[in-house]
């Protein structure tokens, strides 16, 4: 089937079988590899993208459900104020280790700040719970979100 979607502001029409996860369309067809494959079962968050402004696990988002949707990935999230603030905070605090989970962490963190510009530690823990980091960069993720929140406030 043919699906029309807007990825990072660019219109695409893709030919894919129903049931194809958006993740593989983004990575294999549209060749944007910042969005990562970690588990395929919505259990790690590495594949998080924004669909019409809301964070979604692209490994469990099926292509037939995103007809006409606007999709944003890590490659352009820095164009939003929250994305830019998170990326700056991530650099200031050197949040990353292996980095493989971090696209997903950042996409979720942006979702959090867009909904709640000044989250508490508990709110961060709740919201970010589905984003696993095997390198356990969690305390820097918390600090990074709080720092980004400060940057946005300034």
């Amino acid at each position: 089937m043919t699906i029309n979607l807007k990825l990072n502001g660019v219109e695409h029409s893709v030919d894919a079988e129903p049931g194809t996860p958006l993740l593989w369309v983004i990575r294999d067809e549209l060749k944007l590899t910042g969005t990562k494959f970690g588990c395929g079962v919505a259990s790690c968050g590495a594949c998080t993208v924004h669909v019409d402004g809301e964070p979604a696990r692209s490994c469990q988002t099926f292509i037939e459900d995103v007809e006409g949707a606007e999709i944003t990935t890590i490659e352009t999230i820095g164009d939003t104020p929250e994305g830019a603030a998170i990326q700056q905070a991530w650099k200031e605090l050197d949040v990353v280790q292996c980095g493989y989970c971090q696209s997903g962490q950042i996409m979720s963190a942006v979702g959090l700040l867009q909904e709640n510009p000044k989250p508490s530690v508990e709110e961060i823990n709740d919201y970010m719970n589905g984003n696993a980091c095997r390198c356990a960069t969690y305390q820097r993720i918390r600090a990074g979100i709080q720092r980004a929140s400060e940057i946005l406030e300034a």
Binding site: G38, E75, C98, Q102, S103, T137, Q139
Partner: protein, 720 residues
């Protein structure tokens, strides 16, 4: 457009076509400078724009060697961290061997910094020396009057970018023993403000991992492997797979270990594999339950040990006024790095191949590919990419996943690149586990609470036996990695005897972040607490009383005291309980105080972890802290609730929902204090892991439950 070209400008642009200074080692091991790689293997390259590139021989899985080795080069040359880039070295064991791996190029055992601290500084210092020499000749001054600061050669009233002297410097002889900067002169080494060089690319999606390889016309290969390790393909039927769009073909690997499914893209490969039906020959397969494996290990802790590791006599247990005894069990564990295993092989025009891989030990796959594809070593190239974590998994003595890719590539016409992809299920169920181990520890105390005898039995599956590392790691039948952290403990323990018995392998085993210390650190430190309590003594004071005058004992005591002080030991706030542990591994010393709230029935919450570390000179203190934070999380995450279990040889777990990673809410703040040191740098990727789990166990013990059967949920501990 008018061209205004000064003579200097002209020279610069002419030189830009090729002027590069490289400094590294000649094949005979001597430092050398030059302009071509044929002459030497470079650790640093500088072009005439003054751009410095550090060539990193260790791979980057997040633990920071790219930043660390670049820091050493930048420091010695005299450039800022903004003026340096890094590249990964090609696979060439002769040139880039890990000095600790006997001619193997690789990263592991937390050796990256220890191995390279002198080499990279010397290379940087030699580059500085020849650049200053070239500048001195150009300006007619003494080299000693010049210095390089922030990339500018400065002195005698003159100043010019170092790139101006690169062409001339490349013609000079490198000093045999360049003068290194002294610690007083360091501006970057030990500076907590230095940032990672890879933060930006890992935060904006541009970092390229092996999973991100997309070569024109590539095929994605996934393998149908047996559910029981050791099974072989008897036959398969791919008729259903044929109807899947993007399916290319299916074929049994030449070693019969799996059926390879070739597809146009990853999703098609996943679906095609699911549609395959395979008959397995299980005659040589693992068919045990993990309960059987556990029983075998526990039985091996009784009777006579196979090896008397310490070669000591038993202490006078019969004179003890009190005997403290505990048996510990550690299950199989998967590594589960965030990036599932993957690598890509493509044919080169010269008839050789290139392997694109987050290669942790490139020498192994290099040899394996040459053998399987029947190519001379110099026709196999390895493009080392970033790795999305490893924790040991990407360093296999048998190059397991690269061999799979090579076999899958070998049975094609070799015109299309082959990208092998593992799913998370493949990873969790794919063996190469931290082996299961048991410890039985019996300690006799005098009426005064002094240790009279410490009888320590260990049983489990050797990691090294039967691998290429056996000759290095196994002596007199004893696999050092089974007993490290116990038999070589810096504690002074009267009547100390360690016995080891090997048990049969369950599936396949592999080192896992901190190797033997994952279980030995736990058994030692949980036991130290039990014994201290039985003797009626404070756990910190009791440990210190058994740390004597050896250099190791003093360093261990120092981190213990610092962690106790910073962690407010003995003064837990109301409703909280503390546990402490200290352990030496990979040459470094780490003590940790874990503070918890709650209790095992209603749920334990890890509120705070305070760490003290002595890893010699901390080249990048912030990276050291990050590694301790990660090491703590990795250790604690697994002991809480993770294990790999088998039913009839089939792995019961499959993905993160049932091999649950540590989550952000599981762990509170981690605070790390670094002991200032002038010792050479030692390991940092692993040493944070061993003390974390026993410190947590000791905190939980203070609420009434002694956890000896891991994971902790198996001993009835709930987590909030």
């Amino acid at each position: 457009m008018t061209l205004k070209t000064s003579r200097r400008g002209f020279l610069k642009s002419a030189a830009a076509a090729g002027a590069v200074l490289m400094v590294g080692l000649r094949p005979d091991g001597a430092l050398a400078a030059g302009s071509e790689t044929a002459q030497l293997n470079p650790f640093v390259k500088i072009n005439d724009q003054g751009r410095v590139v550090a060539i990193i021989k260790h791979f980057e899985k997040g633990q920071g060697p790219a930043t660390g080795l670049s820091t050493l080069i930048a420091e010695e040359i005299g450039v800022t961290m903004d003026q340096i880039d890094y590249e990964f070295a090609p696979s060439n064991a002769e040139l880039y061997a890990n000095l600790f791996f006997g001619g193997f190029q690789g990263t592991g055992g937390s050796t990256a910094m220890a191995n390279s601290f002198m080499q990279y500084r010397q290379a940087g210092a030699a580059a500085r020396t020849v650049i200053l020499e070239a500048a001195a000749q150009a300006w007619g001054v003494e080299a000693g009057s010049l210095d390089i600061v922030d990339g500018m050669v400065t002195g005698g009233g003159q100043s010019a970018p170092l790139g101006d002297f690169v062409a001339a410097a490349a013609q000079l002889e490198a000093p045999a023993e360049p003068v290194l900067k002294t610690p007083e002169q360091w501006r970057l080494i030990g500076n907590p403000q230095v940032r990672r060089l890879d933060s930006e690319i890992k935060g904006n999606g541009t970092a390229m991992y092996a999973m991100d390889v997309h070569l024109p016309n590539q095929m994605v290969v996934m393998l149908a492997r047996p559910e029981q390790s050791g099974g072989l393909v008897a036959s398969f039927d791919d008729s259903e797979a044929k109807s899947i769009k993007g399916f290319i073909r299916a074929a049994t690997l030449p070693n019969n270990a799996a059926v390879a499914v070739y597809a146009e893209n990853t999703w098609a490969a996943m679906q095609s594999r699911d549609a395959l039906s395979v008959e397995w020959d299980l005659s040589a397969a693992e068919t045990r339950d993990s309960t059987q494996i556990k029983d075998e290990i526990l039985a091996a802790l009784e009777g006579d040990a196979e090896y008397n590791v310490t070669k000591t006599e038993a202490g006078p247990m019969d004179q003890a006024a009190q005997v403290v005894e505990k048996t510990f069990y550690f299950p199989l564990l998967a590594h589960a790095p965030m990036e599932p295993l993957t690598c890509t092989i493509e044919a080169n025009e010269d008839g050789g191949v290139t392997l694109h891989d987050g290669a942790q030990m490139p020498t192994g796959p290099h040899m394996a590919l040459a053998q399987i594809l029947q190519l001379p070593m110099d026709k196999v190239r390895i493009n080392t990419m970033l790795a999305g974590g490893s924790f040991g998994r990407r360093a296999t003595p048998n190059a397991d996943y690269q061999v799979e890719a090579a076999l899958a590539f070998a049975i094609t016409d070799r015109t299309r690149p082959v990208k092998l992809v593992w799913s998370r299920e493949d990873d969790v169920r794919g063996g190469m586990y931290r082996p299961a181990f048991g410890h039985k520890v019996k300690v006799g105390l005098s009426a005064e609470g002094e240790i009279l005898a410490w009888e320590h039995r260990i049983a489990g599956q050797s990691i090294m036996k039967g691998t290429a590392f056996e000759s290095m790691m196994v002596h007199d039948g004893i696999d050092h990695s089974s007993v490290e952290g116990v038999s070589d403990t810096p504690y002074t323990l009267p009547g100390f005897r360690v016995g080891l018995t090997d048990t049969q392998k369950a599936t396949s085993t592999l080192w896992w972040r901190s190797v033997g210390h994952t279980h030995t650190g736990y058994a030692m430190e949980a036991m130290m607490d039990l014994v201290a309590k039985a003797a009626g003594r404070d756990p910190v004071e009791f440990r210190l009383a058994h740390l004597g005058d050896s250099a190791d004992a003093k360093r261990k005591a120092a981190v213990l005291k610092l962690a106790a002080e910073k962690g407010n030991w003995g003064n837990a706030p109301a409703g909280r309980s503390q546990g402490i542990a200290v352990h030496k591994s990979f040459g470094s010393f780490v003590a940790e105080v874990v503070e918890i709230s709650g209790n095992p029935d209603d749920g334990v919450q890890i509120e705070k972890v305070t760490c003290a570390v002595d890893c010699g000179i901390a080249v990048n203190p912030d990276v050291v802290k990050a590694q301790i934070e990660g090491g703590v999380g990795y250790g604690i995450g697994h002991v809480m609730r993770d294990e790999i279990t088998l039913t009839g040889g089939v792995v019961d777990q499959s993905n993160f929902p049932d091999y649950e990673p540590l989550r952000i809410g599981d762990i509170g703040a981690i605070e790390t204090h670094i002991i200032p040191s002038a010792e050479a740098p030692s390991g940092i990727g692993e040493p944070g892991t061993p003390p974390s789990a026993p410190a947590l166990a000791n905190a939980i013990a203070n609420t009434g439950v002694i956890v000896a059967n891991l994971p902790m949920i198996n001993d009835g501990v709930e987590f909030a």
